[in-house]
Amino acid sequence: MNRLLLIVTIAGERVALPASAIEAVVEIESLTPVPGAAPHVAGLSALRSRVVTVIDSHASLGLSRFGPARDAVLAVVDGHPYALLVDAVEDVVEAAAEPQPLRAAASPGWARVARSAVEAEGDLLLLLDVPAMIAGPAAQASA
């Protein structure tokens, strides 16, 4: 199993993403809004001649929308490229152990996108589910 994790900060929380799900760390230069889409869809951006759907991770957690964030991680889900806006990208680390189901009750926003936690570098971090982040709060029922 690939145990590499990408540590990022979202809404002040240090969380882990499975590194295998992330294609690149990118900077979003300009956003084309998508009127009528769910609030967590920040817009579209062109990256290397690809149209990338930019996901506002704060809104996806049910928080208020992002400020002028620029850093994002690129993930491809079902053939569609997405950029997930994050506060900051820290590092790639190796997981110390297998992810464990989260026993304690996280806040509702986090609980939807992270069902497990993983230990790395002595800290216990939430392991984010990228497709759930992309689907957004509205799609909770089907997730």
Binding site: T32, V34, P35, G36, S49, V51, H80, A135
Partner: protein, 775 residues
Amino acid sequence: MDELLKEFIAETREMLAAIGGEIVAWEAQPGDRARLDAIFRFVHTVKGNSGFFDLPRIAALSHAAEDALAAVRSGARGADPRLVSAVLAAIDRIGELVQALESGDVGASLDDEPLIQALGSAPGPTPAAAAAATAPQPQRATTIRTIRLPVDLLDRMMSGVSDLVLARNELARGLREAGPGGDVSACFDRVSGCIGDLRDAVTRTRMQRIDQLFSALPRMVRDLCAETGKQIALTIDGGDVELDREMIEMIRDPLTHIVRNAVDHGIEPPEARRAGGKPEAGSLAVRACQAGNQILIDIADDGRGVDGERLVARALATGTLTAERAARLTPAQKIALIFEPGLSTAAEVTALSGRGVGMDVVRANVERIGGLVDVHSRAGEGLTLTLRVPLTLTIIPALTVGAAGQSFALPRSAIEEIVRVKGGAARIERVGGARMVTLRGRRLPLVSLPELIGGKGAAEEAQSLVVLRPAGGGTFALAVDAVHDHEELVVKPAAPVVMAAGLYAGTTIAGDGRPVLLLDPPGLADRARVTPAADGAEDEHDSVDAAARVQSWLLCRTLSGVRRLVPVTAVERIEDVPAEAVALTAGRLHVTVGESILPLEGCPDVPDHPLRLLRLTDGATEIAYAVAEIADIVSLAPQIVPAAGPGEALGVCRIGGQQAEVIDLHWLFARHAKIAGAAAEFPVCVLPQGDPFMETILRPLVESAGYRVVCAADADAAKAEIVIVGAESKAPSAAAGARLVRLRAAVEAKGRRDDSIHRYDRAALLAALAREAKG
């Protein structure tokens, strides 16, 4: 599964598809040795392969079929219908077995023995076989070397090339911004050329001959005929036209449905046809041709056609149409009602065409891929349906518009016209919060794009209206802040979270490198909760100041090499005809197109090469206009510099920095207009009889000025508004209330009191006629 076995299944399927048409053709012409050989080769190959793979049932069937066919080849048996049916049945069973093999369900339990027996019982040689053996042998198509590729490999290549094109565009922009740099730009041009060629080549790898679709038709029509007891001669043309593999799959169902309809409902049973004075065997012609970026597929039958009045009656009965609207429908709009859901005119639902899937579904399917369906019915004489589909799905022509400071793209196939609000052609009204726009007497629901996407700006402030006719048929107007440009866009599906908005059909990258959303017209209408007016396509397109609105034009090169603009709305379709279709008959050039003979314009002599024709219509009259090529479709409101005199060109305008003539449709149609039908409505003009000048030279001019010409003895002469006589003749007594126009042969008038007009003074003649028409 074994790789070899997969190969065998794929190969057999391919051969099966191709062989169906051969068998039907062979049945019609049993002496056709080439076809017989092709079928024989098929069963022989299958027999060999099935032995190799140990497939006893297929082996037994193909063996029996091979024996029977071998007997026919050696002349020991005749190719009677019974034998043909037996061979067909055996080949069908082989198809089923192969299908079962592929799905892994090998235990298909039907008994093959009766089929094998039907093939076996030989009634001895028939004289027909010997006689037919000398029949002419049609040429066999030469085989092309091919390889088989997995489809997703092609898809990957295509998407790679699309990306390459986009990267090229971005690079081009970068170079432009960096300013001129001689070395780099020459190099870039070369790369750019290579990418263009590569894109063409890869696009072509995804192309398939439309034969893929057509090869199934002979068999289908044969079987349908057998079920319905009808006789139909099917002709197929243009099978070598190529289009995107995906498109072929998308139009398979609509095409099948239309052909079934034609056989089931269109073409009458033999008795009815005989009673109607038609040949007993109906004819069904399926034809494909390429016109620019579109493929046209015509399906024409010579059956009973569509009864517009019955459709109206049905629509009234089901409540889809109000009586008031029904009264305003043009004949073409009545026929177009067949595309409304739930309006079938078939007296009874038959097993063939069934219930449920109607022409509305056909149209929706075709429009989903950016195509159009046209219908042309001649009551009692037949029905022609034309499918127009784009060559490929991935690159679509689009219009970019601006709203709330953002750019959006609209698929051009859904756009009916673009209207500038400022021109005064559009009037916007508010009805209880809803907005409607009136365009030339047509009232349409209005959707404001800036409002819909949450920006500022009311519809009243919009600069332009785009009239959209999306799949589903309803027309509505979309208010936008600006109309930017026509572009060919590489459209990719948008992410599900974007599609969930219900407004978009995909995404693309514009020339400036920014992502652009492709709007989905039906989604826009749904979102704005408008019920689009379900009116037909034909609306009056004249009567508005040309400067006020943008119109679509075909930019053509005529046979004499002149660039000429023809309004798209007047072009019914584009056809290619062989040189033999043109003849100098009845004093002018006529061209045979399908079933009809049309006057030919734009072509000075009988040509020695095939012609491309624009079929122009004014709603009643149709004429064919020959062009050398169609260069482009452009949208513009031309600034026309008038021509020096009346003729084919109305005037000249500027397009792309060059001059182009604007065609004078009025002048063209005036030469051919059918006025007989509505004769009573025209003012009457009396012309003397027996004078060749009056009869042959003056008469057309008077008629084109809107008069009905009668002779003095005619009963209607008393109603005459104008009487034309020679200067020396006496006015006929019938013309008491009419004004007299005297024509003289001499150029100069005889003295001051002579009020006659020189008979070749066209302007004075027309002035006299016009004055009378008003008075």
